[in-house]
């Protein structure tokens, strides 16, 4: 512990005075040892199978919701294409999985998020095929589950709909990158601090960079929800997201 504190302070100072491109997006191609790559793929599979089942069910029960599904997918598509500058002097992008998670539950977003990640890894060399499992797990599984959990808790605690949506989308976004730090720390424990040591290093970079972007994602998600509340209240009620019907 005694050694850790000065080290953390050092990294903090380095971050403050030498703002340069930090590392705050998906894990790149080839940068996870093969064992870990397989592990994360295996962990994702049941979520994806369940996700496909839920999508089939949603479409069957309510064919109209296809459009809303498309909207959720399109939202992640746009948001994960937007590399936005952040306070650490580097760029990262939001994930956009919060919206669909709140609307359809976490499993549906694990499928839609995977499509986005696959697209980016094949056509943009962003992320990677070997790291796809790990990236799916952080962005399309952990993110959506956090978003749904936060949304349910917030509404239970009596927070307003907009605040609940904001918190859910923001923390889901942030949680994705915390998970990425965990994954990297597990695969690359540092010699001095072990897994915890590398986690602190990765997370200190990630969290800082992602905070303003997570706030942006929260705001953008609220914007879409505002629109849905005005023009598609019926479907929101149908999906049991809003119980009380406002004018």
């Amino acid at each position: 512990m005694k050694q850790l504190l000065p080290k953390l302070a050092y990294f903090g100072i380095v971050l403050l005075f030498m703002p340069k491109q930090a590392y705050a997006m998906h894990i790149m191609e080839g940068f996870l040892p093969i064992g870990w790559a397989i592990f994360w793929f295996a962990l994702c599979l049941p979520f994806l199978v369940k996700g496909l089942q839920v999508i089939r069910l949603v479409v069957k029960e309510n064919p109209e919701s296809k459009l809303l599904l498309a909207l959720s997918g399109a939202f992640t598509f746009v948001l994960s294409a937007l590399k936005i500058p952040s306070v650490t002097g580097s760029c990262s992008h939001p994930t956009g999985v919060g919206l669909g998670s709140i609307l359809f539950g976490p499993f549906v977003m694990s499928v839609l998020g995977s499509i986005v990640l696959l697209f980016q890894s094949i056509l943009l060399a962003h992320g990677g095929l070997t790291t796809l499992g790990a990236n799916i797990f952080s962005m399309a599984i952990v993110g959506p589950f956090i978003a749904v959990g936060v949304f349910k808790l917030s509404t239970k605690w009596g927070l307003s709909f907009s605040v609940a949506v904001f918190l859910a989308a923001m923390l889901g976004d942030l949680g994705t990158y915390v998970m990425t730090s965990v994954q990297l720390a597990l695969a690359f424990p540092s010699e001095v601090g072990g897994i915890l040591g590398s986690f602190q290093k990765f997370a200190s970079i990630f969290a800082l960079t992602q905070i303003p972007l997570a706030i942006s994602e929260g705001l953008l998600t609220v914007m879409i929800m505002n629109f849905l509340q005005k023009y598609n209240m019926r479907e929101l009620v149908q999906l049991r997201i809003l119980k009380v019907k406002e004018s």
Binding site: S80, F188, I215, Y231
Partner: protein, 95 residues
């Protein structure tokens, strides 16, 4: 709703502009190069065992593809918004 959303959008723009205004000498680079550094710092002997099957040949082409991704998404969102608004006003005109 329009005014509220305009305000929210303003918030997003301000959040993106502040770093550019206050960190004048920052590079605002992307992820990839620095990521390798961060990992090799911890595991000096790690060799990436797989590389991308295809990489955009230049930064310009990469940004083209990113824009394309954004455009496809934005197109669908725009379509949805227009469709729902039209449907909404039509439904209400009937009553």
């Amino acid at each position: 709703m329009f005014k509220k959303n305009l305000l929210l959008l303003l918030g997003v723009i301000v959040l993106a502009l502040l770093p550019i205004l206050f960190l004048q000498d920052a590079e605002f680079g992307g992820a990839d190069g620095e990521a390798e550094e961060a990992i090799t710092e911890i595991a000096a002997d790690y060799e990436p065992w797989f590389s991308a099957l295809w990489e955009p040949p230049s930064g310009e082409i990469e940004s083209l593809l990113f824009v394309l991704q954004g455009v496809i998404g934005a197109l669908i969102i725009g379509y949805y918004i227009g469709y729902m608004r039209g449907k909404h006003t039509k439904d209400h005109a009937k009553h």
